[in-house]
Symmetry: D2
Subunit: 397 residues, 4 copies
């Protein structure tokens, strides 16, 4: 492993391709529960986690992000979740690192340990308690000698700064990525200012993941880059957006859309959307390009294909996928063979097949954020009465 190039060197030299989000992909495969979204599958079903890593590697991903999303101890014990008790925070994070390393070594992959925002912060319990949660995960990442750390999926730049502070003590490169859009964080801090604050806090790479579609995310990054340039801050940029179209989302992103999380299918991006996304990122100067919720291996493959020339290589998995639909030349039906080519797919505006659906939705917009009572951590499950109360609120909103 000594000869492997590190993240920052790779970013200086060219493009690093990230992987896709694990919670949505594994929820559909049957190994993650929507709601808590925690990664106990690293212990319960390592073969499923390993296989997904492998698919992303074959698709062209340079990074195997250990499946440690929402694996802070407080989250593993939130609202009836028993993973903390059954497997411990340490156990889940440790298993995640080992699986990521195993697959990374099948190629030339880097392993990243990941932190996400915590119930502790959302409950308003302060810096010390929040950082203690982060530290527990970082300790495991250090023991496992991951290649770098990634603090991602933060809605408040304040909590992110606290996370960066903890990460930096490990001596590893630190990537910082917030789940925000062009409107900025949930405390009203602009996207540009978020970027600046992450960079000033010491992150080596800053950017945006989750919550918005690739194109809205690029808009957010454009604002971030402009602010960084104004301040003369030199850091790399990362994009890891949703693979769902969200032109209609508000500040809170896809969480607010009525379709979240079980009716998002019509919004899933095509591989051609991902070609466009990869190109827009590259042109903006983003060098760490990956995905989050909704990304399946073929979406990452499309990113790798779009940037094959810049990277000087096609991904392994391309043995089964010719760029721009070339494989259709082997299709039985002649009119499908006629679809083999870039122009056809670049110009297609795919129909929804849903004449009773609209194009856009009005997001819920409850306007609650960190510190609000209704957001506080709770060990017990939500009761039926509490749900009933929430539904009333929904109807009024």
């Amino acid at each position: 492993m000594a000869t492997k190039k590190g993240l920052l060197q790779r970013l200086d030299e060219g493009v690093v391709i990230g992987d896709g989000g694990f919670v949505f992909a594994l929820e559909k495969r049957g190994y993650v529960k929507a709601g808590p979204w925690t990664p106990e599958a690293t212990i319960e079903h390592p073969e499923a986690v390993r296989q997904l890593h492998r698919e992303f590697l074959r698709a062209g991903a340079d990074v195997m992000q250990a499946f440690t999303f929402y694996a802070s101890d407080d989250k593993l014990a939130n609202r009836g979740n028993e993973s903390s008790k059954k497997y411990t925070c340490r156990g889940i994070n440790d298993a995640a690192c080992r699986l990521a390393r195993e697959v990374a070594e099948e190629g030339d992959g880097l392993v990243a340990g990941g932190l996400s925002q915590t119930p502790t912060y959302l409950s308003g319990l302060g810096k010390e308690k929040t950082q203690r949660e982060f530290q527990k995960q970082v300790d495991v990442f250090v023991e496992n000698k991951v290649d770098f750390l990634i603090a991602e999926y933060f809605e408040h730049v304040e909590e992110m700064e606290w996370a960066i502070e903890v990460c930096l003590k490990s001596g590893m490169p630190v990537v910082a990525s917030m789940c925000i859009g062009p409107e900025g964080d949930l405390h009203g801090i602009s996207a540009g200012e978020c970027g600046v604050r992450m960079a000033k806090a010491g992150a080596h790479v800053v950017g945006i993941n989750c919550h918005f579609d690739p194109f809205v995310t690029v808009q957010g990054l454009r604002l971030m880059k402009a602010a960084l340039d104004r301040e003369g801050l030199k850091v790399h940029l990362i994009a890891q957006p949703l693979a769902f179209h969200t032109p209609d989302a508000g500040k809170q992103g896809f969480i607010d859309l009525p379709e979240f999380p079980f009716g998002l299918e019509p919004r899933i991006c095509t591989r051609w959307d991902m070609h466009k996304y990869a190109r827009e990122c590259y042109d903006l100067g983003v060098r760490y390009i990956g995905g989050c919720c909704g990304f399946e291996p073929y979406h990452i493959r499309a990113v790798a294909e779009e940037l094959a020339k810049e990277r000087g290589k096609f991904p392994k998995g391309c043995e089964k996928h010719e760029p721009w639909a070339g494989g259709l030349k082997m299709h039985t039906k002649p009119w499908v063979r006629a679809r083999a080519g870039r122009e056809y797919w670049e110009n297609l505006r795919p129909s929804s097949g849903r004449p009773y659906s609209a194009a856009m939705s009005k997001p819920d917009n409850w306007g609650v954020t960190a510190g609000d009572d209704i957001l506080k951590q709770k060990t017990a499950s939500t009761t039926e009465d509490e749900i009933k109360l929430l539904k009333t609120k929904k109807t009024k909103a």
Copy 2:
């Protein structure tokens, strides 16, 4: 294995849940090439095939359909495909049977060997040559002692009758499923008549798979059932539709839609669509209920959940999925917790997030079918000039 109940007994006693289609799922995962759609992954990447079988088993599937789609020798050598030479028809089919058996034994699953329509037939080479292709696959299925045979994805009932004839000689139960809609087969034979001819040919289970969405497929089955009832024929029914909405498809189904195969994302069914599908099938009397292209494990899980009461059991994978979005009670955001419940999801008409897309497409409609020159088998790859010619035809059409 001796104590395992067979297919027909299970169908007599209740519902048998099928699995989902492998070619689309594995194409997205990076192991199948769109265009040829052949299953050499059984040899090249057994771990990926095994994992997909396992996910369907966990989701509630009772059948592990060996991944032998389009694995006839003529197809493996069509239009530049080298799988026949490299792996042989026997090799691929044999590996497929062993993988399916391995996973089936992790639960109470049945193994099915599958045949599909052949280039030989489409090229007009006649009954004897076509049946020879089928026989090569059936020989491997017999050696592997699969539990039953399934002849599926036939566009012409004539070829299906030839397949059934070959299958019956094995002595195993035979399922016969055509990729047709309410308009019937490509030779103009009505859906009802197709059902009758399959039953008269001796199939134990008849029905429809692929090419149309769940609801169009149920319409087709309704016609088939009415015709069978009129003739007094007693056979079981099977439904294995697409997981793509196709209200706008013509006789040729989704193949004709401009979005096939790389722009179908907006048409992907939600899990709630599958609840509705399972219920409609059950109410019609269909007892073999599974899926085809586009079905992911969570779609099969939704079928199993909808019919849990009738079957007296939930699938294993439900440890990670509470019916009707129950898991959302554990979500961090209160307005998402308010979405935990049946009424919310049953009434949602999910938006597409695509304001520049229409709801429906005009299908290509070239009107070519078996015997037409342009459909004939060819060992060589399609040339650029041939593609150019096809595109001209497309523009005119």
Copy 3:
């Protein structure tokens, strides 16, 4: 007037173009009340009625249909309507005839007196009472020497037969047109059978008006024509459809759509839709081609332009409208001048500008019809309590 060719001669020789519906057009102009939809404007605001007649004449209409829709005495006194008392049935019908005649003489127009279905029939009061209502109108038409009679907007062929019987006694040509779609009348009588019964009752021209869009109406006429041909009945056909797209309407037509009558704007047909409609009618053999609700003068003009060659003339109003957007050659902006031409407009699929709207609606479907208590005539206005009760029913439905 003696030299004017009559309706039947004109139909034998070529195409007769009808006018558009008055109640929707005059509701928007401020002279008709939606709900009762009665034509007291003939007395209250003759200048507005005259102007609309004139616009249709200029647009190419050969028929000035006297504005006598829903002008039967029972309807003028229904649910709080005071028109019967204030103006009398005779007064309104008489004024209507004189206005139509006045404008008809500005060109070569024919005047038609029109009957529509009655509350008396819907209340189940029987043939004699129903025919008495018709007779009162026909008497006025005879006195005014209109050129022919048109019984239109009937939902039940039985009532239509009674109307035809009354009309025939006048000795004038009788046109009979039902507001039905391909599913037939509200008593379940097929479209074909309706056509046959109208012809057998003695109508000289039979067909369909209102309730469905031009293309659904042509489908209905196709069924009607086939049935007439099978019976060897020789009558002319009339089409006077809506100018609203209704691909999603059920048996009851646009009345059932949630958008009726105040949210239909997105469904309004373009002039290019009317070119297509006129051509489809002509090709089917329909020779009386006009419009109903939603048709504005420019829609009729499009019909006249499409058939200008067959008719050997362009309408007067074409001095202000060059066929196929020719006038755009005079537009200031060059990219709009580039839209001057047939190909551009024929291929345009106009966007809705409504990203929060779906393409189709689920119609109300209360399934009530003639004789049902809730449909019975009532002189008094509907009370607030009755409306409240109806809304409850709506929510449940």
Copy 4:
């Protein structure tokens, strides 16, 4: 007339309701040619112009805007238009004033004389020549003693300033209204700055008309008001938007949309949209509230109904229209009676009935503006070759 309150007093005391656009309405009725869009109908068909004025008056309009749009002499002679020669600028403007006055006196209406942008300016011929065109119209307005002047439909604030200068010399109140959206004028001057410049030039009322839908227009006015407030400028605001939804339009507004001008039907606003528009205007402080292209009398009536309480009166035409669909209580079908009420219509998102159409369009965006050769005035008609050339450009764009 001496006792009639003037525009500015009315605005100080409350809301003034404008009328709707004449060119689109009369094009559909057959009296205006799309392309040149000039108002020679004032001479050719005074009865049609008078009737439209009357309908707006009945609907609640306080202003009869003389039909003088594009009636500058240079425009009447542009690209093959023969109106200048046949009727003269003076003749058309004079007839327009007399028709407006005649109808205004049927109620309590004010008469406005209107100027619009000129080909002279777009051809880059400078201030003096441009103002000469304006002066010719203003002279006629002064002779006819109109109540105020309105300079509207200007794409460049520079030309607007020249128009205001000419108008002010008349001593009459001057309304200045540009056809811009939130992005500002075609020379890149912001909406706010345009408002400020119009006010500083001396206009008594400033605002926006045409090119964008009611809601986009209100956004533009919001920017204008903020800028005026910042500068401490006290003027009244006017809104006269399209009655077409244009969420997808760019800087050039609906002219750029592929549907302009003959495929805009699906975008037509409902009366309920106009209630919302009127309320938003009122709440923003806009006091001159009217409409432009697409507005039919019933749209103005909806504005008048929404503000009936604030104005202390309902329009005359409301004898035929009860607010919030009250007339439906008299409908025959009970499920339509159930739609009588505000909640139903306020919440309806009307379907398009067009499953093959998208929600939004990509506008043409040629980026040509004042001074560009291709925009220059030309007396001769556009030739077929020129159109062919334009189409090529379109395809490339």
